[in-house]
């Protein structure tokens, strides 16, 4: 139940209008025949890099990845000598489609009222015509986790692909797991600055008690409902069935070791599957992560060190250190504002001069992120049987000079134009007309 993959291949009319902003143009047509990417350097991520390899996909699914030349048959062939093929980047945590303009409340659908909302899920509110989707995918981000925000239990996480006519098209997995903001003590700095408030420890205890009450009540409800179907239905607890059963994970937002020390045994005792988002201090609780075999999505390398004495490079060094510590990790960005989601690959790249290999950096924003979201059977690497959700670039995508030339989502060749490229073209034309363009 947890993975409801949409693989619909209805034939659609192609309306090619590449100079218009993507939010005004139709989504890509379904793949109407096999496609062969020929002679490219194929970065499978799951396995070796294949120089001069071929990749064949049909019906949205990769049929073959080969170092040998594949028979083109009826496939449309892209001759890609000197080009590189990568699986689409996977942004583990985002609010893509839920937020349009950060400062305009009416464009924000991230946070339902109240503190505990397991009944809500993100996919249903993702706006397929959001300006953010085409802007984000232009830099190779083709898959994302969408996280409700706010309160103790913000709701259920969905995973989406960044092309589709409707939110149903976009959704890869509507119910990927339950987001929980694990209770945090306010930092001393925060308390000092804000003048105190209730005692940090008491507050944390109270909130953990709230979580206990929720999970106990849900378990009691499930037992009752299963024994007697006339028990009235509670949507919150129904939504928690796969969580309680350990089928879908809880995504815990955790920053400090103190939180991890409280949360991981709590989850283990209840038999929950766990993934952690945030992970600022993950190195300090690497032992817990390894012992409990829990993956962590690190929020951003482009952050300031949180303490004065820490190395200026603390956030850049973290990924390599986690790798060395044997932690399952991926790199993500702060979910609150996803307007900069297109910079995901640069966040990963920033760790490379600080000990991470480019291959490790690449995995952290592809396969590792897919594993974090539980969709690694479908996306995150270039393997037979996975979605043809990938892009073609003229070089190393971490380099700022590299251009992404083609991108496919489930085999559909998507447009790489958007509102921003349209505005660029429009005003370039203005100055061209007026003869004031000194360089064109």
């Amino acid at each position: 139940m947890s993975t409801s993959i949409q693989l619909r291949l209805a034939a659609l009319v192609v309306l090619a209008a590449p100079t218009l902003a993507q939010d005004l143009t139709p989504s890509a047509a379904a793949q109407d025949g096999p496609v062969l990417l020929r002679g490219a350097t194929i970065h499978t991520v799951s396995g070796d890099v294949i120089e001069g390899g071929d990749l064949l996909f049909e019906d949205g699914v990769i049929q073959a990845v080969s170092a040998e030349r594949l028979d083109a048959g009826e496939a449309r062939v892209f001759e890609l000598e000197g080009r590189h093929v990568f699986p689409g980047f996977v942004l583990a945590t985002s609010t893509l489609g839920l937020v349009e303009v950060d400062s305009v409340d009416m464009t924000i659908d991230t946070s339902e009222g109240g503190s505990i909302n397991p009944e809500v899920y993100a996919a249903v509110a993702v706006n397929p015509d959001s300006w953010h989707l085409p802007v984000t995918r232009r830099n190779g981000v083709l898959v994302a986790g969408v996280f409700p925000q706010g309160g103790l239990v913000p709701g259920r996480v969905s995973t989406i692909q960044l092309d589709g006519w409707s939110w149903e098209d976009l959704a890869l997995d509507r119910h990927a797991g339950l987001a929980i903001n694990w209770p945090a003590e306010r930092s001393a700095r925060f308390r000092r600055w804000s003048g105190g408030g209730d005692d940090a420890g008491d507050r944390t205890k109270r909130q953990i008690a709230e979580l206990d009450a929720l999970f106990d009540a849900a378990a009691a409800y499930v037992a009752a409902k299963d024994a007697d179907p006339t028990v009235p239905t509670d949507l919150r607890f129904e939504a928690m069935r796969p969580i309680l059963a350990g089928e879908d994970p809880v995504f815990l937002s955790i920053t400090t070791r103190k939180q991890a020390e409280a949360a991981l045994p709590w989850c283990a005792e209840r038999g929950l599957r766990v993934a952690i988002a945030g992970g600022r201090d993950a190195l300090e609780f690497a032992d817990l992560l390894v012992r409990h075999d829990v993956p962590v999505a690190i929020t951003s390398t482009h952050r300031l060190p949180h303490r004065r004495d820490l190395s200026y490079a603390t956030t850049y060094e973290l990924p390599a250190k986690l790798e060395a510590a044997g932690v399952r990790w991926c790199l993500t960005m702060g979910a609150r504002d996803s307007s900069n989601a297109r910079n995901l690959c640069y966040e990963a790249a920033a760790a490379v001069p600080h000990g991470l290999t480019p291959a490790q950096a690449l995995r952290s924003v592809t396969l590792s992120s897919a594993e974090f979201l539980g969709i690694e059977d479908h996306v995150g690497s270039l393997d037979k049987g996975k979605h043809a959700t990938l892009f073609v670039a003229d070089g190393d995508p971490f380099e700022l000079g590299t251009k992404i030339e083609h991108a496919f989502v489930q085999g559909r060749k998507i447009s790489l134009t958007d509102k921003q490229t349209a505005l660029d073209a429009k005003y370039r034309e203005k100055y061209r007309q007026r003869g004031t363009l000194k360089r064109d």
């Binding site: 950060d102 802007v135 001393a188 200026y312 609150r336 790249a349 001069p353 921003q420 505005l423």
Partner: protein, 1077 residues
């Protein structure tokens, strides 16, 4: 007036009661007379610091010291106080004791001046004075007089020195309370509190408070000048209005006491003192050692608290992690603060202010002495120096004839560990602090018990008030249930020698050296006994003699620590230079400009030469001396050769929009136009983000006011001179003065967030009108000054001078082309509006900042402004930026605009090189042009393009060395030079991190060994220092706001571009919501 009276009293030796002192109420019943005529005899007198008179006789009469003699005799009639074995010194003088004083009547003369924070006409004597318990706690610490001062306000009013104890008791007349009125004016950079005066009261930033003070002092001068004109010629102008506030600030009046809440504030106050040539004293924070050299160079008299921080909690490793080295080392060094400042030649007074509990004061002073402060200097800092600073040194501070009778009588030298105060004399009246302990009767006594069988003799050994034994021949008997009082003793005795069974019950009466007692046997028969003291109880073992009070205060240092914990003074700790900025990565000495040759590098010149492979750069005297092929390079003697190993060198990066290192608020939101405030007044060189940005190759930045106001504050262009001594040293020489403007949503939102429905501007129309109006006003202001300057001297003496107005002055500079606008802007309409306005006025705009729709009106920008400074790719965070495109930089550049890419974020500023690379990515800009976006172009936009921003001979040696292509993610900054000084390098960084960690662990170990309990509870940092606390309801709301943001993943330490600092966003959010509710 009072002072005159005192002198007269002395000369005339008038009767005891002053005819000038009012009696509050008519007498009830007979008078109660206190002759106030005393002689303290046989005292060990410290008449002034460093002096000593044994066996002194001090005669006090009518509140004045009449005579001080060695030996001498008490005059007949004086009440005699035997001070044998006691030490007498002058009463301590407290320089600051805050009191509440009511605000003056708003309708009074002059009313409030601009703000109720400016009330210099107010006096500490207007209000309730010190509470009885405050007075008692002061006297208990040895203070006999205190300068009381209004505890709030920016210019909060005047202080008076009062005697601590006047009016107490029931004698017929009070002693004089006020020793001197108007001894100083209080000064503080206090901000309007949130909420209580509307969230947007002025000033709500530190720079706003400074601007307010400057304007007030200028107005005082202006007021005086107007009065002078009016005195010369009454006709031809309207009469100047009486103004008590401005009168109170007149020149030649009292000095200022500045209440600092940080050592940086102290330096800011020193700048005010210089600018206005006004005497300023500083009530410090105890952290002056963190900027020691600059504080000493400021040369201001210092009033230092002893509010050392509590021992940081390092009980767990997690708790220890929460403390920075800066905090840990501050704890360690704080007790040395006074010593360092005294050694450095500063004038130092000590104060009990800023302590939570004044009972900790003497322990704090003793700790300073343990850490090297000369006890003589400590005494001076509590007597002579404060008396002098308060202008009462002819009356207080020493024990000399003619001075006021303010004395402390104590058991030992003032700072000896076991020195107890017996009495404090205030204005010739005695206040007992701690009575001498009752005499003890311990000792050996020869006793004789009369029994029926004849006398029994032996020794009674009274060991303590509860332990004694009787020794008779070889036998000894313990006395049971012994109780020894001042005059009596009671005990029980079981002694087989006297009776085989039963208990004897005894009593004794002490009479001098003798005891006379009785003993009642089990049979009820009473026997008499008596005893005579023969001497002390002999030592049973080799007792340590540390119980002896030897009066040597220098030895007292070691006694402060309990046994076994006595620390060896750490010579290196006390004498070594302290790092600047204090904490990790601080420099103990700012480096000299190096002579350097950088070879084997690809040089991005950001000049006509473009990108040159294999070039050599020679740096000398802070300047670039040579760029070119190695073969032709001069090699100055002593040059350090840096092999870049195939790396790249760029000019130091320049950030044209930064809010890093600004103290006390980035926005002044108390007014809609704040051109009078200056970021340059509040530079915080301790901000660790400067170091982090150096690590990203940044060497200069444009520190800007926030975007809350249509017309904001003045900018400061700085170089990242990490480790420089004074905040002023950060400023880049020769930069064009600038000012922040802001269009669109931000100023609208802030104005709409106030509680006034007519607040301006709430639309882009209003923004345009407001800016036009203020520019006109600035121009007309300048014209009025010019007209006045053109008058003859004769005319000027008869013409009211124009008021110097800091707001209009800056606006006038803009119109005159002397100050460049850096304008926060987004939409093309507003950009065009300001461009046209500037053109109409005939001045050039500096930069449009953010300017995310700049690509739509690039031609107009190229014409009207020096440049445009934008983000690489931020968008969609507000409605007005939905049309932002990452091609903006390139497109504007392609139309001829000078474009820079800025950070507006302490975090982005660490990686402007890859931000610039995004312009290459999105717009296919040439790589050599791309680097100019963050080097030469911003330099030009800040008016320092001829000094820095490119690698050309003669320019400042501001350089960044990279491990590879600076536009590639694979590269990192290896070394950063500012003015030819290497202020960052990977090697130095690694060494600095290791050193900081070792230092942290050393201090943590020290704390762990001490045990986690703080030795004494002390004042906490900043709580009483400067800013006021938020009102509770605002706190609650604000906490929630932050909490939400935090929960949702935003870290308050992470500032976001485009919104001018995270806290400002929160502020604006809070303000907006307050308005909408």
């Amino acid at each position: 007036m009072i002072r005159l009276f005192l002198v007269a009293a002395l000369v005339a030796a008038t009767p005891a009661f002053s005819p000038l002192l009012a009696q509050d109420e008519p007498l009830r019943g007979p008078r109660k007379i206190d002759p106030r005529w005393h002689a303290l005899t046989h005292a060990r007198l410290i008449p002034s610091p460093g002096a000593l008179v044994e066996d002194a006789t001090i005669v006090l009469r009518d509140g004045v010291i009449v005579s001080v003699e060695t030996g001498g005799e008490a005059p007949a009639g004086a009440r005699v106080w035997d001070c044998s074995g006691l030490t007498v010194h002058a009463g301590f003088v407290e320089m600051y004791a805050g009191v509440e004083a009511p605000l003056p009547d708003a309708t009074g003369l002059g009313g409030y001046w601009q703000s109720e924070k400016v009330v210099p006409q107010r006096s500490a004597l207007d209000g309730e004075r010190l509470t009885d318990s405050e007075v008692e706690s002061l006297r208990g610490a040895g203070f006999t007089a205190a300068a009381i001062a209004p505890s709030d306000g920016v210019l909060g009013g005047s202080s008076a020195v009062v005697a601590l104890g006047a009016g107490e008791g029931d004698v017929a007349a009070a002693t004089p309370e006020v020793i001197e009125d108007g001894v100083y004016q209080t000064l503080a950079f206090r901000r309007a509190s949130w909420g209580s005066e509307g969230s947007l009261a002025y000033p709500n930033s530190e720079m706003g408070a400074i601007a307010l003070i400057r304007q007030a002092l200028m107005d005082a001068d202006h007021h005086a000048a107007c009065l002078a004109v009016d005195a010369t010629e009454v006709a031809g102008h309207e009469p100047p209005q009486p103004n008590e506030a401005l009168d109170a600030l007149r020149r030649g009046g009292a000095p200022f006491l500045f209440n600092a809440s940080s050592e940086l504030q102290l330096l800011r106050a020193a700048r005010l003192a210089d600018e206005f040539n006004r005497p300023v004293m500083v009530l410090g924070t105890g952290t002056e050692f963190r900027r020691l050299d600059a504080v000493l160079a400021a040369g201001l008299p210092l009033v230092l608290p002893v509010n050392y921080p509590e021992a940081p909690d390092v009980s767990t490793s997690m708790a220890a992690d929460a403390h920075s080295l800066r905090d840990l080392a501050t704890w360690e060094h704080a007790p040395s603060n006074a010593r360092r400042l005294v050694d450095g030649g500063a004038t130092v007074a000590l104060t009990s202010a800023k302590l939570d509990d004044r009972g900790d004061f003497m322990a704090g002073v003793r700790e300073a002495i343990e850490r090297g402060l000369d006890p003589v200097e400590a005494l001076r800092a509590l007597t002579v120096t404060p008396a002098r600073l308060l202008g009462v040194d002819d009356r207080l501070g020493k024990v000399e004839p003619g001075r006021l009778a303010h004395l402390v009588v104590r058991t030992a030298d003032p700072f000896a560990e076991d020195s107890e105060i017996r009495d404090v004399w205030v204005a010739g009246r005695r206040f007992e602090i701690e009575a001498a302990p009752a005499p003890t009767h311990e000792g050996d006594y020869a006793f004789r018990l009369e029994t029926e069988g004849g006398p029994i003799e032996g020794t009674l050994r009274l060991k303590s008030s509860s332990s004694a034994e009787v020794l008779v021949g070889e036998d000894s008997f313990e006395l049971d249930d012994l109780k020894v009082g001042p005059q009596h003793m009671h005990f029980h005795l079981e002694a087989e020698a006297l009776a085989p069974e039963g208990v004897f019950s005894g009593t004794g009466l002490f009479e001098g050296e003798a005891i006379h007692g009785s003993l009642v046997g089990p049979d009820g028969a009473m026997m008499r006994w008596s005893a005579t003291r023969t001497g002390d109880v002999p030592d049973e073992e080799d007792e340590e003699d540390d119980g002896e009070a030897d009066g040597d205060d220098r030895s007292s240092g070691e006694d402060v620590e309990s046994d076994g914990e006595a620390e060896e003074p750490e010579a290196s700790l006390e004498d070594g230079p302290l790092p600047l900025p204090f904490g990790a990565h601080g420099l103990t000495a700012y480096p000299d400009a190096e002579t350097v040759m950088i070879r084997n590098a690809t040089v991005w010149t950001a000049a006509d030469a473009g990108i040159v492979e294999g070039a050599v750069i020679v740096v000398q005297g802070g300047k670039i001396r040579y760029v070119g092929p190695e073969a032709l390079a001069p090699v100055p003697g002593g040059a350090r050769i840096i092999d870049a190993q195939g790396g790249h060198v760029t000019p130091g990066l320049i950030d044209c929009h930064s809010h890093t290192g600004i103290s006390g608020g980035v926005n002044e939101t108390g007014r809609r136009v704040t051109s009078e405030v200056r970021i340059g007044d509040v530079i915080n060189p301790d901000d660790i983000n400067f170091y982090r940005q150096l690590a990203g190759g940044l060497t200069a930045a444009n520190l800007l006011h926030g975007s809350a106001n249509a017309i904001g504050g003045q900018n400061a262009v700085i170089k990242l001179r990490w480790g420089a001594s004074h905040p002023e040293d950060m400023k880049a020489e020769g930069a064009m003065p600038g000012i922040k403007f802001a269009l669109g949503e931000n100023p609208k939102r802030v104005a709409a967030g106030t509680d006034r429905s007519d607040e301006y501007p709430q639309t882009r129309m209003g923004v345009a009108a407001l800016i036009e109006d203020r520019l006109v006003a600035g121009r007309e202001y300048r014209e009025s000054l010019e007209r006045y300057a053109a008058l003859s001297e004769w005319e000027r003496a008869r013409t009211m001078p124009p008021r110097r107005d800091l707001e209009l002055e800056a606006l006038g500079e803009i119109v005159a082309g002397e100050r460049w606008i850096h304008c926060h802007s987004y939409r093309q309409d507003e950009i065009l509006m300001l461009a046209r306005l500037a053109q109409a006025f005939g001045f050039k705009i500096g930069t449009f900042q953010h300017v995310l729709e700049g690509y739509k009106v690039a031609e107009e920008i190229a014409e009207a402004a020096v440049g445009a400074s934008t983000f690489s790719d931020w968008w969609a965070y507000k409605f007005e930026v939905v049309d932002a495109i990452p091609h903006n930089a390139t497109l504007m550049s392609d139309v001829g605009v000078n474009v820079s890419i800025n950070s507006d974020s302490s975090e982005h500023a660490r990686r402007l090189n890859t931000e610039a690379a995004k312009a290459v990515k999105y717009g296919r800009m040439e790589r050599a042009e791309g680097i100019k976006l963050v080097t030469l172009n911003p330099a030009i936009q800040l008016g320092i393009g001829d000094q820095t921003g490119s690698i050309e001979v003669g320019k400042d040696a501001d350089l960044a060395i990279w491990s590879g292509d600076p536009l590639s993610y694979q590269s990192r900054c290896v070394s950063t030079f500012v003015d030819g000084r290497e202020l960052f390098s990977l090697e130095a960084d690694a060494a600095g991190r290791a050193a900081a960690e070792a230092e942290r662990q050393r201090i943590i170990q020290k704390l762990l060994k001490k045990g986690s309990k703080p030795k004494m509870s002390r004042g906490s940092w900043g709580r009483r220092g400067g800013g006021e606390r938020l009102a509770d309801r605002d706190l609650a709301r604000f906490r929630d706001e932050l909490e939400d943001l935090w929960r949702s993943g935003a870290d308050p330490t992470l500032s976001r571009p485009g919104v001018c600092g995270c806290f400002d966003v929160l502020y604006e959010m809070a303000a907006t919501r307050a308005g909408s509710r």
